[in-house]
Amino acid sequence: MTSLEELRKINARCIHCRACQYAYSNEPDREGADEEYTGMMLSCPGGNFYGWEGYFNSGRMWMARAFLEGDLKPSQEMLEVVEACTTCGLCAEQCTNYIDTVDIIEELRAAIIESGVEPLKRHKMIGDRVLEEDKRNPYNDPRSDRTAWHDGSVDDKNMKVAYYVGCTGAYRQQGVAKHTASILKKLGVDYTVLTEEVCCGSPILRTGQKDIFKKVMNENLEMFKDFDLLVFSCAGCFRTFKVDYPKQSGKPLPFKVAHTLDIAYDLITEGKLKIEKPYNKKVTWHDPCHTIRHIGLSIEKEILEKSDNWLLDSRKAAKAKEAWYERPREVIRAIPGMDFREMYRIKGNSFCCGAGGGVKTQFPDMANDTARERVKEAASTGAEVLLTSCPFCITNFNDAVKALKKEEEETGKDLSAMGSKLQIVELLELMDQLLD
């Protein structure tokens, strides 16, 4: 589905029941450790922050319906409301009417913009930068520096594997790119990186700027078409290639895609990779929406799309989704010495970090508030380390912890229960440190 109009009938399934506002709406009764984390929890980042119905998915579905029916005219005001959503997909996970909520929200954003409304200021800015020939990234950094972090193979078209670094790895979290490169080397994967790589388009698509997205998508597809496999370290890029490119281009990908953790997972489960070095810390794990829930939901959907009997196949589809959610845990459990503690909201019901969907750029207060709620949940497990694998989650959590530390300094209060002492660690970085 590539337009809001095509999603009309799916949107019409919404009966405004508002189950989508809660984590664990759709699961057997769940027992947590205490009153705060047990049963079902209001878990929509936008709705929790703003409170009005329009900031919850349930309200957005009815705004989309009013828009489709021509009752609600597109406006800047409407775009402001629709964009204040991390597109985390917790709502989609809850919906027993299988509404593709994230697709509808993204297509609604695109439809508003296509009708002539300017993208929100900061979103427009990143879209413009991605188009500028000397940049092609949302960070305003020179295109010529894209592979400056790398001292290995560049632009080797004879390689079968390419590492799609993404803009954040290339310009902001070069450590993650370096660790990924190092892991790939340790795992025996020969790869190259391309200096001509352009933004994957994730933040552009999420914020409704589809024309720009299509341009970068087509460029990337053309550029990488002769490789067998593309590997990723960025959750957003991976999701965009794996889920959005086939959907938006209408064609299957010409190459296979894998997140670096997936490669590690395969090797670990096949018994070909064993992590020997211990990591003697109390650790919890945050599921990045892009690589965990979004991919899980797409796996479920793919199975159901082929099924002529959902009554029978829905369980099989849900199992396949659950198996995907389990994968990072298998990797984590393979690390010796670790005291692994799950947070209350995990897997499909994981609470978002608050950065996605263009929110970090345009709505920093909402992003920070959401991250604070999540780091508090992480701290409630007693963990010292909050592990995840997504550059946006890492940045937003670090910002939240920094803010807590600052508040501690200013007030003299101990905010460790809120997460002020948490160390935020990228799993790829940790893996690199532990692998010989």
């Binding site: 919404c14 009153e35 009815w62």
Partner: protein, 506 residues
């Protein structure tokens, strides 16, 4: 028709002065976000302004402003199983989103909880699980976590223990009500300064029945004292099949007679037919023939009992007696009521509260509507037969659900009308279907619950004119300017439409 005024900028300023700028909006997209058509009703008018009051005092002040301006007011919080109260008359007026009023006090000694309108079932259940695990809040069954306890109670809805305790309104111990004049009062023993809400009938005649089921048309309820119930932890579900509605309804009645016995343990008794399973899935991706369902062990009709007990022994005894009653019934009626083999996951999902059992029917096509009727329990099989035939005549799958109220004294019968809400003319077809079935059912003395204000309400009141006249009188005492949402009962008719009144001809 009653003439209302539009919400002016001046009124908005007054609302801002009461609730604060942050909690008042006339943003068009946000107003649209509150809309809903389907599941509980098809009528909705865009509110002119939405406010989120924090407490009773703000509600009181807002009502006085609305009353002065002659602006309609609709209170709504989490609603019921889906959707919620929405303005149904032009102009849309003020929509009060009550979700900020979400305080809850629990008194286990007197077995009562006091809830504000915004206390959601999901939150109440979560908190009870940890703080009062041996008590249960009377949350609606089959409704999602966002539905509210107060919404369900004042709607006389259906709770997780309705099979034993009756409709949710029977759980009420006291109300705090605000009227458009700004007057406020409490009902029951609560009316006495400093008294607890321990005695529903209070210090004199109790007017709470005027507000229960009024959907806010008589006054805005800002607090309710509601009974809490014991929450024993030995629980299960048993289900028995049958070859007709009669053969699942009658044995449930036999069990229901054991009040002060095993029937008290069967807190929830509900049943349905095989299309109730089929229509949970997309029409294009599920077998449409009963043969498939038969093959996977689903009877054409079934009734299940949710049993709660204080010990395994009590649970086993109850299940044994239920089984014996079914066996006796089989002999008596020369029929077969086979016990259904439930997967542990089916039991777990049924026992889970709140649950989404009532939600997935939009998947069959793209929309659905619950139409709900009450009738004496043993008459429910006749109603369901008639209803299913009418549904098929109109091209709807005959998806039907039934549940017992108060030890199988009454039945709540609920056809689930699955339809494609994006299809032109579908709402007219539903209206015709409603008119036809309502005509027949009213003749048989059955009562619509949550009526369509343009079909069930006028048709019902045209056959209960004296009662309607009294309701209008009461309403005019409590809300002389008729600014409150007229509710799905549409009292008085003139506040809703210029169409002929139910009293036409007098």
């Amino acid at each position: 028709m009653v003439e209302y005024n539009k919400v002016t900028d001046e009124v908005v300023k007054k609302l801002v002065a009461i609730c604060g700028e942050k909690y008042v909006t006339d943003s068009e997209p946000l107003r649209y976000s509150y809309m809903a058509r389907g599941i509980m009703g098809l009528e909705a008018v865009l509110p002119e302004v939405v406010i989120r009051p924090a407490n009773t005092e703000e509600v009181r002040k807002v009502l006085m402003v609305a009353n002065d301006n002659l602006s309609p007011v609709t209170p709504a919080a989490g609603g019921l199983s889906g959707g919620f109260a929405l303005p149904a008359i032009e102009p849309g007026g003020i929509l009060m989103d009550m979700t900020r009023m979400n305080k809850m006090e629990v008194d286990t000694e007197n077995r009562v909880m006091i809830v504000e309108p915004g206390v959601r079932c999901g939150d109440a259940w979560r908190i009870f699980k940890k703080r009062w695990p041996d008590w249960a809040p009377p949350i609606p069954d089959g409704a999602p976590p966002g539905a509210t306890i107060l919404g369900d109670a004042i709607e006389r809805g259906f709770s997780l223990v309705t099979g034993r305790y009756g409709p949710q309104a029977d759980m009420i111990m006291g109300l705090e009500v605000v009227l458009p004049s700004g007057e406020m009062f409490k009902t029951g023993s609560w009316a006495l300064d400093g008294a607890k809400a321990f005695y529903r009938w209070g210090v004199g005649p109790n007017p709470d029945g005027l507000f229960l089921g009024s959907q806010g048309s008589m006054g805005i309820i800002t607090k309710a004292a509601v009974k809490i119930v014991p929450h024993p932890h030995f629980k299960t579900i048993v289900a028995y099949g049958g070859d007709s509605w009669e053969h699942i309804v009658e044995p449930a009645w036999e069990i229901g007679k054991y009040e002060m016995g095993i029937s008290d343990n069967t807190v929830m008794v509900q049943g349905g037919n095989w299309p109730l399973v089929m229509t949970r899935w997309p029409k294009s991706n599920v077998p449409l023939d009963y043969e498939f369902y038969k093959k996977i062990g689903i009877d054409e009709y079934w009734m299940n009992s949710e049993v709660w007990a204080h010990s395994q022994e009590e649970l086993d005894f109850t299940l044994k007696r239920i089984d014996e009653i079914y066996k006796d019934y089989e002999v008596k009626k020369k029929t077969v009521c086979k016990q259904q083999q439930l997967h542990p996951k089916q039991i777990a999902s049924r026992l889970k509260k709140p649950n989404l059992i009532a939600v997935p029917y939009a998947l069959y096509e793209a929309g659905f509507l619950f139409i709900t009727w009450y009738c004496p329990w043993l008459e429910s099989s006749k109603m369901m037969e008639e209803y299913c035939a009418a549904m098929e005549n109109y091209g709807f799958p005959p998806t039907m659900w039934v549940a017992s109220i108060d030890h199988a004294r009454q039945a709540i019968v609920m056809p689930i009308l699955c339809f494609d809400s994006s299809k032109l003319g579908i709402y007219d077809k539903i209206r015709e279907f409603n008119i036809e079935t309502t005509k027949s059912f009213l003749k048989q003395g059955w009562i619509n619950y949550r009526p369509d204000p343009f079909v069930h309400a006028p048709m019902t009141f045209s056959k209960s004119k004296d009662y309607y006249r009294m309701l209008v009188k009461f309403r005019k005492v409590l809300d002389p300017n008729l600014i409150l949402h007229p509710g799905r009962l549409a009292i008085p008719w003139a506040s809703v439409t210029d169409s002929p009144s139910p009293l036409e001809g007098e």
